[in-house]
């Protein structure tokens, strides 16, 4: 029993060592209340985060997926750095051509930036693979990447992880928390928040997750 408890302890410990604490969120005052759940707090959204073998070191989750049950009205704001990463070029193009989207795939570990035509091809392949698993069109899928610039994504590891990632999608708080950890790189804390308020006679929710700790001076538009 001690060995099993020690192995379960190790696995739990292992699990906890792969997770990072949540950031304190300093919300401005307003006619809203904070609710748990980040990106899954709003109706219709699901999320998942898992370790897909993309990070250079450690086994902290590094692959996240956020999906919507319906065609969601989409908006995107992107870096104005002219050496834009392949996922940025892909998303700008996709959002330009469609008002809606159904999913966002996010990987940590490699930024897929300064990777040329091969890097752009990697984005297309990942979007196509997610679309197939979700029975959607590739243009319903948006992609975000973060990590080391100049390295292509570990595509085999990513593609092999997608079935498990899709299976673990859930509309729970845990799903949102796992996704918020999976998008981090040098972050010491994960960043996730959601609020609820009444708009137009109905209760609505706005939630989100973010990552960032270094190379931070956004000039997006």
């Amino acid at each position: 029993s001690s060995s099993s408890s020690s192995s379960s302890t190790i696995s739990i410990e292992d699990q906890s060592s792969n997770y990072i604490p949540a950031a304190p969120i300093l919300l401005p005052e307003g006619p809203w209340k904070q609710v748990p759940g980040g990106v899954t707090a709003a109706k219709g959204f699901n999320a998942a985060g898992m370790y897909g073998g993309l990070r250079a070191k450690g086994e902290k989750p590094d692959l996240a997926l956020v999906t919507c049950d319906v065609d969601a009205i989409s908006a995107g704001v992107f870096t104005t750095n002219v050496v834009a990463a392949a996922p940025v070029i892909y998303c700008r193009h996709t959002i330009d051509n469609s008002d809606t989207a159904r999913a966002v795939l996010i990987n940590a570990g490699q930024a897929n930036a300064a990777t040329g035509d091969a890097g752009y091809q990697d984005v297309i392949e990942c979007a196509t693979a997610v679309a197939k698993l979700l029975q959607l069109r590739p243009e319903d899928i948006l992609i975000e990447s973060t990590g080391v610039i100049g390295q292509r994504i570990k595509k085999e590891a990513l593609l092999n992880s997608l079935p498990e990632l899709v299976d673990s999608l859930s509309s729970t708080i845990k799903g949102a928390d796992n996704a918020a950890v999976a998008i981090t790189t040098t972050d010491i804390v994960s960043k996730s928040v959601a609020i609820e308020t009444e708009v137009g006679g109905s209760l609505i929710r706005v939630g989100g997750m973010a990552k960032g700790s270094g190379m931070i001076h956004p000039n997006m538009a």
């Binding site: 969601a72 989409s74 996010i106 609020i195 137009g200 006679g201 931070i216 997006m220």
Partner: protein
Amino acid sequence: TLLGVITTDALVTSDLWRSMVLTAVNRSFNQITVDGDTSTNDTVIALASGTSGSTRISSLSSYEARQLQACLDAVMQGLAKSIAWDGEGATCLIEVTVTGANNEAEAAKIARSVASSSLTKAAIYGRDPNWGRIACAAGYAGIPFHPNDLRISLGDIILMDKGQPLPFDRDAASAYLRRAGETHDTVKICIGVGNGQGQGQAWGCDLSYDYVKINAEYTT
């Protein structure tokens, strides 16, 4: 790199949603800075499912649109501040508020110039209430204002008013900075540049030895 995913179940038209998201980004993520490096990958994606059953929001001037905009601003500011709070090597969050400018955009530009100043960031890490560096960073923001209108305070301590440096309790000011650093709290810098209606905020963090250490090892 900054990545963000924002979700809502509000029902809103596409053009309006895209305009609101950009406005909220300019009041939040575009107002943070850790090291002055603009990433190749910065992206914020925002999705609205419309499944809350709320009325469709289709006009920017409607009351519902203003409510949704305020919620979007709040969520993005909460996330943006947590990124600056978690800046590499940071010991505290720096919040810069500028008032008295001609408009929101000019106030925001001055605020971000101060939050981005390496000398101001290093002084705060050294717990040095260096108002001269704050005045300098406000001055090179590229926004004209009369130096005699400049007012600077650190927390509750006024360091400069009407362009004149004031005698202040240096130990108390340094203790304010030290306490914020020891508890990973927020250092508030308030700057007045005139009598205009423009107000803006920016967020950053102090510059520590650890920032260099982390980035000397995190190679491409």
